[in-house]
Assembly symmetry: C2
Homo-oligomer: 273 residues x 2
């Protein structure tokens, strides 16, 4: 089984991702595609007169401040525009795709953060009314049902809180939890960079291999959105996924390239035989 | 099994619809909720600087002119905002809902109209690049899979063309085709009016019963959006659905009220015993 997360940043070639996934599905692989939609959400938010507000938590992670109005714009873009566009591309290729949000069938469930502490202009500040949370539990019933019947799930945030509220969650970490729950060997995380770079300004500075026991030495290179991708990777590997690959979705055949080891391969724990 | 179509016009009480559906699902009924989103699509289209354009076909039916840009706004509102809001309400009530568009799993399939002839300022005009079509085939595999596993499908346009393009279809007629394919006894169509009115300005002028053989006498009362609802009803009844009820979604317990016969009940053909 192949689990691919594709980001929502500018430059990503969704045609290439869908065409490559089609080849793999036709070759008999089961696959789940998890996707984002951040750049398009920013664009639509601006157009709707509700510009995005990115906040940085006390631990240094950046996220979208998601009040109820933002959540609904988020759903429009992620679950409406992005999700149905991907489903359409796959269907046109003959792949029987089914688009889902993490709240459908409670696939992604977890606690909503009732308050988040952020750093703004050097000061701590508490935000309430933020519909953000964390995937803690993956309910596989719907996923198994679809895969066993030959459908290809296309999954996107939001997730659902234990109280039944839609909530924004990080898609990379959601994909990591899904990969762990399904006990897949490999999780592929595609974005608009070649992988983890030593120098974010230089795409030639790609780090190609990271052994599990040395991850801590490399997390220092993860900047911006890559920080959460690293966090997701570590979570997936801790839960038993054998390797996580960060690879480039601006190129043709991005999934096959990642499967061939191009990008940054983070190796999991070596289990005693 | 209960199939309910709820419109997307102003005034509809989605909380009431979801709460009532929850009661019925808890009582052991299988249910499918089909929904629209027209009023909200108009609002968001305006906000995005792409005001809606309604066109009238030569046969007198009104529809939304749906170029590719409009289709994507349509998907944002129908599949993103409206669909996920309904799924969230049902999930909060403990109903394990799964939101789907007609293109997921090719549930609603049919021909796209390559050109539509409209009447504008008294003249015929041909529009191309319109992503509108008609549900001709209902693929029940995904629906049966979900129902059999205890999920409640929440379905909305767009559908998918035979060539794999997302296309705008009329939700009432889609619901009618679904009801016919599933051979249900009753299709409930909820909107922001009490049912079919003799005088659209007077809600007291409700027509409460229409026998199948006298439908033609009553179609004259159907104005605006009600015309397509009548068309859908006739299609469903011709395909074997035993009755179609038009009822009011601005009131509490709208589904139970419709099941109790409140609204306009259109009776199907009486089969010889």
């Amino acid at each position: 089984m192949i689990i691919v997360k594709v980001g929502g940043s500018l430059g990503i070639d969704y045609d290439a991702v869908c065409d490559d996934l089609t080849t793999l599905v036709r070759a008999g692989h089961q696959a789940i595609l998890v996707h984002g939609g951040s750049a398009e959400t920013n664009r639509i938010s601006e157009q709707l007169g509700k510009p995005p507000r990115m906040v940085t938590s006390v631990s240094g992670y950046e996220s979208r401040y998601t009040d109820r109005e933002t959540l609904e714009i988020f759903e429009m873009v992620y679950c409406g525009k992005m999700n149905k566009n991907i489903v359409e591309k796959l269907q046109r290729n003959g792949v029987n795709a089914v688009g889902l949000a993490g709240l459908d069938g409670r696939i992604w469930e977890g606690p909503r953060k009732s308050a988040i502490t952020i750093i703004e202009a050097g000061k701590k500040k508490v935000l309430r009314d933020d519909f953000t949370g964390k995937v803690e539990r993956v309910n596989l019933k719907l996923i198994h049902l679809l895969l066993d019947a030959g459908f290809t799930p296309v999954l996107t945030p939001p997730a659902i809180s234990y109280e039944g509220e839609a909530m924004n969650v990080d898609g990379d970490r959601g994909a990591a939890m899904l990969a762990a729950a399904l006990r897949v060997d490999r999780l592929i995380i595609l974005s608009n960079v070649p992988g983890l770079l030593k120098d974010t300004q230089n795409e030639e500075s790609l780090i190609s291999d990271i052994p599990f026991e040395r991850i801590d030495e490399y997390t220092v290179f993860a900047k911006g959105r890559m920080k959460k991708k690293m966090l997701g990777a570590v979570e997936a590997l801790r839960e038993g996924v054998k390797s996580v690959v960060f690879a480039d979705a601006r190129r043709p055949c991005p999934i096959s390239e990642a499967l061939a080891g191009r990008g940054t391969v983070i190796h999991g724990k070596i289990e005693p035989q």
